[in-house]
């Protein structure tokens, strides 16, 4: 895709589906919705690389898959590396005239583990080397495929199978998450000309960011928050609602960095207290007021650090 055609509204979103009905993802799965919107935006001339994670295992259970475009598995460790190989192969085979293909959109659809934890090395190197690949991190904030275990993206205070709450560790998870945008899109990877955060609850924004990421020459990074009804423990019908609430409480941000310039895509008029978000999810149900205050302080600090100038709720 040379220059991306932007989508102005839901009514203008492409009708054609490339992520089809028929996959073993949870009812109300956030990452599945992300996949569908991404595939819609990228279209027919796309190859997906799926490192191990929910979006590999749940999508391809029983020797089949829901994609109308080529898809291949990669190990959870090496999505960036496999994509690098695919990209250079297409460039070289096209240059040599060995194939007649148009150079495809190449998208790595990595979970938070496959992107920022065990897959970080391969992702970083792919971006460093400047491969023309969109590295997409669908972030459901845990290793969900194995039954919900902690990842670096699991929020402070969340329970997982590996971070239960107990008298000795009342807040469950102790650490605050990594910041992938800071790692990939703040100058540390000079070839990355486009990076953005997105959410499944803002579909037009998400689809346009996919198209922008594909349109730039070289690597692009997209960090998509995808609420996970199983891992976060909320009723499956609230997936889109929670994605919005995350943005309204400062637990998620929508911005992009193009050629080093940051632009906010959506900024709430003022942030709602983070407690409104925490109380919607079973994974936070054990938190005490002091933990909630610690979370609010973190949100406020992060909001200021990112330069979002909105009124903040008080942090005790």
């Amino acid at each position: 895709m040379a220059v991306a055609e932007m989508i102005k509204s839901i009514a203008q979103a492409p009708e054609k589906e490339y992520y089809l009905p028929g996959h073993r993802t949870c009812a109300g799965c956030g990452p599945a919705l992300a996949y569908r919107l991404i595939a819609k935006a990228s279209g027919k001339n796309t190859i997906f690389i799926g490192p191990t994670g929910c979006m590999y295992v749940a999508n391809t259970s029983y020797a089949c898959g829901p994609w109308a475009v080529p898809w291949t598995h990669a190990q959870i460790t090496n999505g960036g590396a496999v994509a690098s190989g695919i990209e250079v192969a297409f460039k070289q085979l096209i240059k040599k005239g060995k194939i007649k293909d148009e150079f495809p959109n190449i998208i790595v659809m990595a979970g938070d583990g496959g992107a920022i934890d065990i897959g970080l090395q391969a992702a970083s190197s792919m971006m460093y080397r400047g491969h023309d690949v969109l590295f997409l991190m669908y972030d459901n904030e845990s290793y969900a495929n194995t039954g919900i275990q902690v990842s670096p993206m699991t929020p402070y205070g969340a329970t997982t199978m590996f971070t239960p709450s107990g008298p000795e560790i009342p807040e469950a998870k102790k650490f605050f998450p990594k910041d992938p945008m800071a790692i990939f899109c703040s100058g540390g990877h000079p070839e990355v000309k486009y990076g953005a955060t997105a959410s499944i609850s803002y579909p037009v924004d998400l689809m346009n960011k996919v198209r922008k990421g594909l349109a730039v020459e070289g690597p692009a990074f997209l960090h998509v928050q995808c609420p996970c009804p199983k891992g976060w423990t909320y009723p499956a019908d609230r997936t889109v609602e929670l994605g919005k609430l995350a943005v309204e409480t400062g637990m998620w941000f929508l911005y992009e960095i193009e050629d080093g310039v940051k632009k906010w895509n959506y900024m709430p008029k003022k942030l709602k207290p983070v407690e409104e978000y925490l109380q919607t999810q079973g994974r936070f149900s054990h938190l005490q007021p002091e933990h909630v205050a610690k979370m609010q302080a973190w949100v406020n600090q992060r909001t200021q650090l990112l330069g979002m100038e909105v009124p903040l709720p008080p942090a005790q």
Partner: protein
Amino acid sequence: MPKAYKQVPFAAIVKSPTVNNQGMVTGNWRYLRPVVDKGLCTECKMCWISCPDATVNYSKDDGISFNLEFCKGCGVCSNVCPVGAINRVPELDFED
């Protein structure tokens, strides 16, 4: 138990589906069926864009309808509807 092995293609490489993935039919996951009230529906397509399973269909002539062979009944469509036009009805209330 006698073993019932299954035919597997070369290197487990399978052809991509074009309309639905018939290898994983998920309509039987549903216990609440979405039912749209066409009188209320404004055809804003919020439900269509928000369905994780691509099982909300829209056409200019028929408006919103559901692919019940695959709908898992998650209820996201009902939740996002700004006018409350999608009800969730117990699946056993339907004969089909």
